[in-house]
Symmetry: C2
Subunit: 373 residues, 2 copies
């Protein structure tokens, strides 16, 4: 498949919200969409079959983790992520930069890249923009991400302004190097907009990233504690600078209410560990809001987690059984709860696409933001 | 369903080996058969659907564990094990005695029962023959087991002879109490033959257990380190005393070679944690013998764990991917490997039944005992 077939088409709009189709070498992704997180090439305890039944269309894997284990050479020898993992649809790989700086407190950033101690064997490793592009090419993902220097938008101290500007500008220089190094024609490479909590920097970053020549873009450093209204503003100014015909991905977000807010601003793609992490802790997303299975009231509740849900878990298992599995440390509990929570997120995306097509997105957004948390 | 429908029919024999059908309130079980172990009402990480596809017909749960968590009242309120767990087929529950004495080093056995400290809350608990029958009735299992005092057959020191005899005789007195207390007509209650490593005691125990009036029997205290030839002798003498028309269950056994040896002696039912425990440690049973996924030679092996296997794991996943998941601590690894190993055991049972019907069981036994371990 050539680069020409890596298109993105918007088929309907409702305000700034839009629905469309993102084409990749391993199939199309309807947008807006949510990517379940499969750090090591597997969503915790959940099989590719189950993800497909739950409505997943694209998964996210972590470049850095796969580089450490099993190493991209083994993934490549087994046919890339699609061959290695059994998930035959599209994959997005992150750049690893965010993981590295959050996993290692000794990460050191300089113009060359990020140097850190591997949590696997303690040895020093360096991620460079070019190296990260090469690893993602070997992994065979459908969407690769540039290496960026992430500064959370929650940082808003005046004293940090220089640091935020420096990181934003370095991210741009790294983006240029990444763009030059990227040769895999059947793989998207997304640029990443940074700029911390500054609208000015976000606007500059978006404009400059666009000028490098990327055809897909992400918002970085958001969903890390900033107020939702502030995030809305930062996303909106970047969108003013980004080409309307390019896909936009908000990295790492978030709660259902966060997602519908961002969709209303024209975001197309999301990923987050929240549905699977909450699942393992017995917190379920339902049509009535959050359900906390640890509450004793569910101990003998012989009803589905969410009677309005069409997932494989709700069709067969009760709150009482899920609660029992989770309390007993049984792996099946996290698995069944993950299937449910992922279905909630993926169904929300289905509903969002349908609502946008029908010009009814505002009503869906209001419904979801009103759910008790 | 009344007690009259709880029948067992032998439909074919090949030497002492036999194949037949065990009828329960939740359906029939073809014998010989293997019961996957679902301690807390779930096989680690594996769903009822997957167990059904793998060919499971009956599962085993641990009475003691379910009594501690979630408690039999909750299971009963959710429709018994079949309603609570989503496995709608037959369940066997053990008595808990073996777990208690192996989990708690402070277990004290007297004529009344077993007193021990709960590993959940540290409080003292007592299991009595009558109490254990009542818990299993509340759990709604299809086959219940009497409380027994287990003395491993590996114990063969002359100084222990008195202790073994005392435990064997106490097991008989408890069996009488259990039989009297058992009122659930749609549930089997199996007596348990003990006797340590003594043929004399095993014969006496089998004869006396039969005389109490049980219609199903188990061998206890075997598969705990005794030589296979010794085990064969102990099983054989008990079978001389047990009614030919009653089902026979060898508790806790074992490796594939152990199973075919026991089937050759006329055993009908098995359970063992080995296939699932081995799976979680990356040891797979295959048509060529044991496959140890931790060996580096499998790191880039893009082939099915067992190319001759018809399980859901071998149909879709490679040795390299399974090895990666297990090394990365991903729950999906243990799950996929468990599905494979259980399919190996269940297919072995299918092959055993077919071989017995065809008068070819000796050849299957020789094939399996010759596999490298």
């Amino acid at each position: 498949m050539s680069a020409e077939t890596l298109g993105f088409e918007v088929s309907a709009r409702d305000g700034e919200a839009r629905t469309g189709s993102l084409h990749t070498a391993h199939g199309a992704v309807e947008t807006p969409n949510f990517m379940p997180v499969a750090t090591y090439g597997a969503v915790r305890g959940v099989s590719p079959d189950e993800l497909e039944v739950a409505g997943a269309q694209i998964l996210l894997a972590n470049t850095y983790h796969l580089h450490e284990r099993p190493g991209e050479a083994i993934v490549a020898a087994c046919g890339g992520l699609a061959g290695f993992t059994g998930w035959k649809g599209p994959w997005l790989t992150d750049s690893g930069g965010f993981q590295v700086t959050s996993l290692s407190d000794k990460a050191r950033v300089d113009e060359n890249g990020v140097t850190f101690s591997s949590p696997v064997d303690g040895r020093r490793r360096t991620l460079t923009p070019e190296g990260v592009v090469a690893v993602q090419a070997a992994l065979g993902s459908d969407i690769a991400m540039v290496l960026d220097e992430c500064v959370p938008s929650a940082v808003e101290e005046p004293a940090d302004a220089l640091r935020v500007r420096a990181a934003t500008e370095r991210t741009l220089r790294w983006a240029e190097r990444s763009h030059r190094a990227h040769e895999k024609r059947d793989q998207w490479l997304f640029g990443i907009v940074q700029g911390g909590a500054s609208e000015t920097l976000r606007r500059e970053s978006a404009r400059a990233t666009r000028e490098i020549g990327f055809r897909g873009f992400a918002h970085g450093g958001l969903g890390l504690g900033e107020p939702a209204l502030r995030r809305d503003e930062l996303v909106a100014v970047a969108h003013e600078e980004l080409p309307a015909e390019a896909p936009r991905y908000l990295m790492g977000l978030g709660k259902p209410a966060d997602l519908v807010r961002a969709i209303a601003l024209g975001v197309d793609l999301f990923d987050c560990v929240l549905p699977t992490r909450h699942a393992r802790h017995g917190v379920l997303f339902t049509s009535q809001g959050l359900l906390r299975l640890k509450n004793a009231v569910h101990a003998d509740a012989d009803i589905a987690p969410d009677p309005d849900c069409d997932c494989a878990t709700c069709a067969r298992f009760s709150r009482a059984y899920l609660r029992h599995l989770l309390r007993s440390g049984e792996a099946l509990g996290g698995r069944l709860a993950s299937v449910h929570n992922l279905r909630f997120y993926l169904r929300l995306m289905e509903r969002a696409r349908e609502a946008i097509r029908g010009g009814r997105f505002a009503a869906l957004r209001d419904e979801i933001t009103a759910l008790p948390e």
